[in-house]
């Protein structure tokens, strides 16, 4: 194991072939031929972890995460929190609920508070810009995260730089808060750059279009992290619809059995295209499903960024200490269309929209920070100008960005091009030349 850790060079540094960009498959690229693996504690041939292994009894012997922590209450590792009342730190009017469970995130200093609110404001501004750019024909499609900013920024803020994010496709806020340049995201939706630029550097996987598949990838990545004994946690971000996929069930089950360091975050935004939550499940809450997997399940107000930050931090701490995976349900609402190709008036009414608009996550947090004296006109102006600049930057970079060369079509199929693809490339070049002449 020591040998592997050395070879991948610890956090962040990844082995790469000379002259190539580091990519996913190479992260654990040395595992196949690493002798050190055979005797490692996670050796698959030894049948995987067993009761008595350091982390399998996480609930009873695992870490204490403070009062009201994940293991508390039930005496098993299947603790449920927030299923009667979603955990909430801020009331919709921005006043503290006084809830001690989770404890108020006192660890956040004024600067972090300002950063989180700025990230939320920036997310909303860039999100709106991307919708506009699609309407103007600059992007083929876009999936707006309007209304989900607290859930997304709260989770990302609780993650460390070395942790890994496996997003679905609606996570602009998580990406922004992790420091991914939104231009890279916009270029992806434009089709100018496959899969989004600047993700790997921020330990973020490409977005996942096959709903639910990223949960499996995250679980497997986390298995690798465990085998590597790396100090990283993997976060899978999925939707309420995704939770109905067999893939997600299998990912949760396997992650739980192997006690891998993986946090499953479900943004329960109430809708999967036109299908409401009640068609997805009969479970009282999505967090309840954790019970069957034997892992902690937490339900929290996802429009409350402080509650989200608190429970995500708690969960990540628990996971880092070897407690195994956690299922976190964030209650929020998709205020925009499913994507720019959708017309939600066909399946939902204004009343619902208004109800959720009144629970706006940005207003709530802003009111709180103003009351705390951390946010004022000056901060508001600065955040607005940061957001406007980001949006203008995205627009400037994206508008009429050059199309990638057509023969680049064949570049990314295999690392080493095949004869057959070379033949097809030559054929396309001939056809293009003929069309030009």
């Amino acid at each position: 194991m020591a040998e592997i850790s050395q070879r991948v060079g610890g956090n962040g540094a990844r082995s790469t072939e000379p002259g190539t960009v580091a990519h996913w498959g190479q992260r654990r690229g040395t595992l196949h031929d690493a002798d050190g693996l055979i005797a490692g504690p996670g050796d698959p041939s030894a049948g995987g972890p067993r009761p008595g292994d350091p982390c399998i009894d996480g609930g009873t012997q695992g870490p204490e995460v403070g009062a009201g922590g994940l293991g508390a209450g039930t005496g098993s590792n299947a603790a449920l929190r927030g299923v009667d009342q979603p955990l909430r730190v801020l009331s919709p009017d921005g006043s503290p609920t006084g809830a001690s469970d989770p404890p108020y995130p006192a660890l956040l200093g004024p600067e972090q508070h300002r950063q989180m609110l700025t990230d939320m404001i920036l997310t909303r501004r860039v999100d709106a810009e991307l919708v506009d750019l699609q309407r103007q024909g600059q992007l083929a499609l876009y999936a707006s995260c309007l209304g989900q900013e607290a859930a997304q920024v709260g989770v990302a803020a609780a993650m460390r730089a070395q942790d890994w994010l496996f997003p679905q496709y609606r996570e602009l806020g998580m990406l922004v808060a992790r420091g991914v340049d939104p231009v890279g995201v916009a270029m992806m939706w434009r089709g100018a750059y496959h899969g989004g630029r600047g993700l790997l550097e921020r330990h973020t996987s490409p977005i996942c279009i096959v709903v639910g598949a990223n949960a499996l990838h995250a679980a497997g990545f986390a298995l690798g992290v465990r085998l590597d004994a790396a100090d990283e946690v993997v976060v899978a971000s999925i939707g309420d619809g995704a939770l109905s996929e067999g893939d997600v069930h299998e990912a949760l089950n396997m992650a739980a059995v192997y006690e891998v360091p993986c946090l499953f975050v479900v943004q329960n935004n109430q809708w999967a295209i036109s299908v409401p939550g009640r068609v997805q499940t009969k479970s009282a809450t999505l967090a309840h499903k954790a019970v069957a997997y034997g892992i902690p399940g937490i339900r929290c107000d996802g429009n409350d960024v402080l509650a989200t930050y608190s429970v995500a931090s708690d969960a990540l701490r628990w996971i880092r200490a070897g407690g195994g995976p956690v299922l976190l349900e964030l209650l929020t609402y998709r205020r925009g269309a499913h994507t720019t190709a959708d017309d939600p008036t066909r399946y939902r009414g204004d009343a619902e929209l208004e109800r959720w608009a009144a629970l706006d996550p940005i207003d709530r947090y802003r009111r709180h920070l103003v009351a705390e004296g951390i946010w004022g006109e000056e901060e508001e102006r600065r955040a607005a100008s940061v957001a406007d600049e980001a949006a203008a930057h995205v627009r400037a970079e994206v508008c009429d960005a050059a199309d990638p060369s057509a023969t680049g079509l064949f570049d990314l199929v295999f690392t080493r091009p095949t004869k057959e693809l070379e033949r097809q490339r030559a054929q396309l070049e001939r056809e293009l030349a003929r069309r030009r002449s």
Binding site: A140, G191, I209, S244, E245, V275, Q280, A406, L409, L421
Partner: protein, 324 residues
């Protein structure tokens, strides 16, 4: 005769089947209130109610498996899968179960299930919504594979598919939904076993199906301008293939170009080409040619996607190449 779209024709076929037989029901993601991802089932929930137009959880394997179960019990389910790409989450149910249960049960059970799905590219939906994998399904014994390419087939294939005691997969090319055509009020039930000559010709046979029928017809127009008479054959049924009609056409034109939006290696176009070689080799004046999608994941960027797909120009070039 009325002018109607492929989408409306398909909807009319669904409505007709739901009216004719109480055992018929439709199930899939967003098929109810939303009217289906491609608006095929729009209005059917209102007309037939939630017992028969069923929105499912986001669980492809579950609702295809449930369709099999209902069919085993004598119902006549129609399952809609959003795209062929997502049918892969139900591949085990389709290939290991629907296609084998008659065999595995010694003939005690059969699976009268119809599965409809969208296939094909051209709508900037990227590599996980755009592939043409119907050729894979056509590899599997126990399944009937249909590819309606015209408004008439969209209207006429569903009912005979439902009457088939075995599983039938219907592939609807996404670019066809808005295509228009003429439909007689009393349109006859179509047969599911034969290929159709969509345009007679004498110099070369263009073999196409589903989305590529339009490509082949456009190429035939261009070729006619040059004085080459192309016959266009619509395969219609991908399994079983109507080899007799294919061979008869090639025997008459002596040249063949297969036009397929699937990838060429190990493909349906390879199968068609092999059958021509097996049964009409001595009638050929030139090797069989194929125009297929570039062997890359279908790209999202518009110009890249266009470059990856079979075009009328590429078909014309293939014909020129044969004549040279």
């Amino acid at each position: 005769m009325t002018t109607t779209t492929y989408r409306q024709a398909m909807r009319e076929a669904l409505r007709d089947a739901l009216r004719r037989d109480e055992r018929v029901f439709l199930m899939g993601e967003d098929v109810g209130r939303y009217g289906g991802c491609y608006a095929v089932s729009l209005g059917l929930l209102e007309e037939f109610g939630p017992q028969r137009i069923i929105d499912t959880p986001l669980s492809e394997s579950a609702f295809v498996g449930a369709g099999i179960g209902a069919a085993l019990g004598g119902m006549r389910p129609i399952v809609e899968i959003m795209t062929v790409n997502f049918s892969l989450l139900a591949l085990d149910q389709i290939v290991n179960n629907a296609a084998t249960l008659r065999h595995m049960s010694g003939g005690q059970f059969n699976v009268p299930l119809v599965i409809r799905m969208t296939t094909g590219a051209g709508r900037q939906l990227a590599a996980q919504h755009s592939h043409s994998l119907e050729g894979w399904y056509a590899h599997v014994p126990g399944l009937r594979i249909l590819a309606p390419a015209t408004v008439q087939d969209a209207r006429g294939m569903l009912w005979p598919a439902l009457c088939d005691p075995d599983p039938v997969l219907v592939f609807e090319h996404g670019l066809l939904y808005n295509a228009e055509g003429e439909l007689a009020a009393d349109a006859p039930v179509v047969d599911l076993t034969t290929a159709a000559v969509r345009r007679p010709g004498t110099d070369v046979t263009l073999l196409a199906y589903g989305g590529t029928l339009r490509t082949a017809l456009a190429a035939a127009d261009d070729l006619a301008g040059e004085g080459t008479s192309a016959e266009v054959l619509d395969l219609r049924s991908l399994r079983p293939l109507d080899t007799a009609t294919i061979v008869a056409s090639v025997q008459h034109t002596h040249r063949a170009v297969v036009v397929d939006e699937g990838w060429r290696s190990g493909s349906l176009s390879a199968e068609v080409s092999a059958r021509i070689t097996e049964e009409a080799f001595y009638d050929l004046d030139a090797p069989v040619a194929r125009v297929c999608a570039a062997e890359v994941p279908v790209p999202y960027a518009k110009h890249l996607e266009e470059a990856a797909l079979p075009s009328p120009g590429a078909v014309v070039e293939a014909v020129h190449h044969m004549a040279a």
